[in-house]
Structures are given as C-alpha cells and as structure tokens.
Symmetry: C2
Subunit: 380 residues, 2 copies
C-alpha cells in the first residue's frame, strides 16, 4: 500500500468542494482542524497534539487552496501539492495569524460568504477571542459551510478505503495475538500497554485510541482507562482500538472470555454477531443510517430504541468517529464509498457487551474491512 | 506513584478559581475541552479522540462544579468527586446538550457573566452553530474567562509535578535504550514504531506524540512523520516525544549521531546543552519567560531573536504544550510550580539541531525533571 495520494485526489476534492460552494453561494471555505486541513492539502503531522498554534486553509471559489500557517510548518507544507503558503512566526501574542488570515480572506472573498464547518462532529480550532477578531476584520460574512465538508468527507475514494482497510488488517493481526498477552492474573493496564505494542509491531503508525474493560460476565463502562485489576476467570475482556496508518483510522473491538463463558455471555456474543450481520446486510445504497440502526436495535433490544451510548455505529476515516451516526434520528442516505462502524451493544447480567466491525458501502452488498468475528466468543 | 488526586486537590482548584471569578465578576466558568474538564473533575478518558460528543463543565460562583455530559460518560464521571451530573443521550442531532447546558447556566448564572477560556492555547470544543445557539439561550452574557484557567493551570501542585516527573523518568529510560533499536540501515519509520514500544514497555500509558528526523549532519524539519529512509552513517537522529502517565505529559527530545559526528554537530550539541543550562540557571521566581528565552537565544543565535519555531520552550502539564511561551514577547513572571520545557535550536551546516529538557521552577534554583543530556552527542 502506497503512502499519500496522487495529486489528482486533491484536485478532485477541491473541484467537488468548489462545485458545492457555487451551489451554496460561498466565496471561500475556512478550515481550522486537522482533518479539514489534511483533506485538502495532505498535510500530515502529529504536531496537532500541541494546541498552541492555529493552522488555516482557505479554499477559494476557484483555484487551489491557500495555506495560512505558522512558519514552523512551512517546510512540511511545501512538500505537499500546495504552493500558496503564507506564514507567520507563531506564537505571536499580539496577532497569532488573524491579520494574515483576514487579509487572505479579504483577497479571495471580499464579497460573499465565507463558509466554516459548523455542524455536528466539528469545532473551530482557534481561540474564541481570535474568532471574534477575525469576524471584525473580514469583509465577507462568516457563515456555516452548508455541510460541504461533511458531504465530501463522508464518501471515501478507493485510495482512502485502501488505507482504512490496511489499518483494519493491522489491528486484526494485533487482536489475533491477544491470547499471547492476556492471561488470568495479568493486570488490565499491562494488557493495554501490551496491546498497543502489538499494534505497533503489526505496522500501525500510532495508536491514538484504546479503551476497554474486563469484568465478571460483562462490563459497565467502555470509555474508562484501564485499572490495575488482574484478569480473573469469568471476566469478559473487551479491547476497542482506533489505530492509524497513513492518517486513516480503524475503529473496532473484540471480546474474550477468560475461562469458559457463562451461557448468557455466549448467547449475547452470538446475538451481537447476528446484529452486525443484519446491519451489514441492510447497509446498501438507498438505505439510511437509521435503517441500519434499526436492523441492529431490533436484535439487541427488541426495538427499544437504543441505549445510553446514543448510537450503534458511525462513520470512520480521517477521524476515529465521523458522520453519519447510526441512530433513529439520522436519516443520511447511504452511498457507495461510505465507511461505517457497526457497533451493537447488548445487556447481560454482568453489565453490557459491545461488539464492533467496520464495513464499506458498495454498489451492492457492503464489504467487511475487518474480519467478522465468530459467533462463539473466543476463550482465553 | 499513586494515580489520581486526593479530593482536596480538586476542592482547592475550585476554591482558587472561585476567588478569581469573584475578582473578575464572573458568575460561572464554562469549560469544553479535555484538560479544562479534567482539571476540575478528574475525568480521564481517551474517548475525547472521538469528536462526536460535546462535554461541558460549569463552575458556579460557589459550590462544586456541575458536569453536563453525554450519558455514555455518566458511569465514569460518577467515579470522580463530582455529584451533580446532568446527562443527555448524545448524539442528538436536534439538540446536542445545548438546551441542558443553557438551563444549567441560567440556573447558576441568571445574571452576570459566563467566562469561557478564550485566549492563547485555547479553543471551544463544540460546533460553531451550537455556540451561537447557546449565546441565544443563556440569560447571562458569555465572555472571556479573564485568563483564570491559564493562571491556575500554569502553576502545578506537588502532586502534578510528581506525575510529570514520573513520565519524564519513563521516557528517559526509553531514550536510554535507543541504541538498541536504531542502527545504521534501520528505516526511520521502524525506529518510530520501536521507540513508541519502548515507552510503553517502560510504563507510559500511551504515546500521544512522537516527532523527529534523521538526516546528514542535522535535519530541516522537526514536525514531519517518519519516512522509510534507512539510517546512514553521518545522520543525526532526533526523537522528540510527549508520553503520558496518569494524564500528564513529558515533552523532551534526544539527538544521536549515527557514526562519528562531524565537528560542527559535536560543537552544536554542546552549545545546545550550554544554552539549556543557562536557561535553567536563570529560570527562577521573578524572572520572565522572555528572560529565559534570551538566556538561550544569546547562546544559540547570538541574540538574533529566535527562529521560525517561534519560541524556545513552553509550559507543560496536562497538555503537550501550555502557557507560557519562552519568547521575547511573553513577559509572564515565573512562579514556583511552573513546569517548563527548554527547547533551544541551533543552525548547523546540515540544517538544524534542537534539544529539549523539562524543568520545574522552585523557590530557588530550578530542578530538572529530565536527566540533563551530556554535552557530547551520543554516538550509535
């Protein structure tokens, strides 16, 4: 699998954005977050972990994107396809790029609206006071992006799907080796460290997300950090990981029974796989995110309408979680190229069990990017 | 080292915040980002990697903080010291917590100002359209936080410093083992994977940040992801990591010469250590961030005023980078309990070399949290 994308991928993304911008009457898009900047430029770095410096990309109504970035990023941005790179020496406590950004926006969007991603799954990555200053300095009106970023990023190219498939395969190999690292008596936090090492050994670039739990006959919480409690017979161990390869995520989990499972656990695991398969079967062009939710919810709750997790899966790509949400209120119509997680959960006497797989929507039946788990919960 | 904090730590944080809120005329603080929420609650999870759900904490003028969070976080938040936990089932495309948050703010701050962190190093972690809706629903005026979060978080408690020291020691042990994983011919991306594994083996909970470079006699860029190029004799290898233990970061680097270093590289490395020591010497209560910058800048550039990196170090704690910035424009006065990175860079014929150590300000001389590197660049 080759890293990066052909230049044509970016040219195509910009062309599709500009077509939608024309329809929406937007003179420019203003982007501030890591995936938004990377989507149009290919700028890939872990430096976003530092919240200090704002980074901006402006997509004009025509012509290539303009990067307005701290000078520390000049060299890396110059290795992308972007040629119009405007820098300032950040941090600058008096003006951290806002003046330069406003000049750029006033140049390309002196009249007309400037669209910011403003809906679900988004935020603005700059200080609130700087945002207010920017509004005062731009001649064009700052407004929402009419969902353009959502619409574009939600449908993946073949090259993007290839990258997601690559990291899914890497994580799957790590999951296959869990019996080597997780025996009775091993503390859960040690298992978390070892599992991250397995992912790196198998080829992940980094492991931005690992959650999980281990408790008797189920678990009560799937977002906690690991405790130091040792694995015990009768525990269900769940590991849920978002690993990255070339900037794209997987997001799936596996459950393991430590010693023989209780009948309720065995049965619940099989039901989760049934729900996953039912969802994968229905997940075709024309079906909605809600349809896929209901296919699972009917099986795991008898149609009660979900749980406190809020949804039973979501989009996946440059972020661990993306649009759409598999829930009753999301009527997004599925299209070929959408990548989804299917994430049903089910109540068991010990709490809950959650299962998760990743699929891609095609013109026909959906295709699993993860190797669908067996109905039988694996026993360690 | 014990995980977590005593309840008294949080009580003290809230009391100090409320004292400053009274001075600033704020009826409430509204917090939306991971470190802000964690600072007052102890809510620690990697689930923030998912951008889907907003999370809110409201600090009223008196009394304990109120968590306004997605129901998926209820169980974990209930294990903290927070008792007033208000939840909604997120995601909710019609109202993703904004109504519940506005009700809460109207209850505790019906009149008076609501302070949001709005300055350097901050952002608001909710969709722009939801922020506008919130402004319309709150009776109190939404304004900045008068730098309260900055002032509080910049000065660490002994318990916080202990956690930062713990992760510094873990990363230092990983750096000691770099000669085991980085020989001539090994591709840089393999070294990056192996180094992350070393950090996990040595006890890091996770490795949110790793950057670095390897090139002949220096490097040109310190924020790029690793290439697949194999290490060659004459390369300078630099690894810069932010690892986490119990929610606190280290942030330092090490340089290695692959084979005997060029005289310019040897000399430059020694100069970087000299600059680091000069900065550590001057970094005492009463000195400013700018003073510490100038102590290094005099040595590495002859007083030219810095480089495109923008600063020569920064605060460190719950984030990889925090206030203050070690640069000419930052006149923050140092106080005991501040944790700083000292990060001088110097030009060499092959590009640049950057060195980084972590210190804590005490009532007297600063104390290194990282084992200060030798003037002699290590040779592999």
């Amino acid at each position: 699998m080759t890293r990066g994308f052909d230049r044509s991928e970016y040219v195509d993304r910009v062309a599709r954005a500009q077509g939608r911008m024309a329809d929406a009457g937007l003179a420019a898009l203003l982007l501030t977050t890591e995936p938004e900047v990377r989507y149009f430029t290919g700028f890939l770095t872990r430096f976003w972990e530092s919240p200090t410096r704002p980074w901006f990309v402006v997509v004009p109504a025509s012509g290539p994107p303009i990067a307005v970035i701290p000078s520390i990023g000049q060299a890396l941005m110059a290795r992308t396809w972007i040629t119009d790179i405007r820098t300032w020496r950040a941090p600058d406590l008096a003006d951290d790029g806002i003046g330069l950004l406003a000049d750029t926006l006033n140049e390309v969007a002196a009249t007309g609206a400037i669209g910011l991603p403003d809906g679900h799954e988004t935020h603005l990555r700059l200080p609130w006071s700087d945002m207010q200053r920017l509004i005062g300095l731009t001649r064009g009106a700052i407004t929402g992006d009419s969902g353009i970023l959502r619409a574009l990023r939600m449908v993946k190219s073949d090259a993007e799907i290839g990258k997601i498939g690559t990291i899914c395969a890497i994580a799957a190999r790590a999951f296959d080796r869990v019996p080597d690292i997780a025996q009775q008596g091993v503390p859960l936090d040690t298992i978390f460290r070892r599992f991250q090492m397995l992912g790196l050994q198998e080829g992940a670039d980094w492991v931005p997300y690992l959650a999980g739990a281990a408790d008797a006959g189920g678990y009560s919480d799937v977002i906690s950090p690991a405790s130091g409690a040792p694995l015990q017979a009768g525990d269900v161990l769940m590991l849920d990981t978002g690993m990255v390869w070339d900037g794209y995520f997987c997001d799936f989990d596996r459950n393991f029974s430590i010693g023989p499972p209780a009948p309720e656990v065995r049965s619940a695991h099989a039901t989760l796989i049934d729900a996953t398969e039912a969802a994968a079967e229905i997940a075709r062009p024309g079906a909605t995110a809600a349809d896929v939710f209901h296919a699972m919810d009917r099986i795991v709750t008898g149609g009660a309408g979900g749980s406190d997790a809020g949804r039973l899966g979501h989009g996946l790509g440059m972020q661990l979680t993306e649009w759409p949400s598999l829930m009753a209120g999301d009527h997004t119509v599925l299209e070929p190229g959408m990548v989804l997680t299917l994430e049903p959960g089910i109540a068991v006497p010990g709490g809950t069990l959650v299962h998760e797989e990743n699929i891609v929507i095609t013109t026909g039946a959906s295709r699993f990017l993860t190797p669908l788990a067996n109905r039988e919960i694996p026993v360690i």
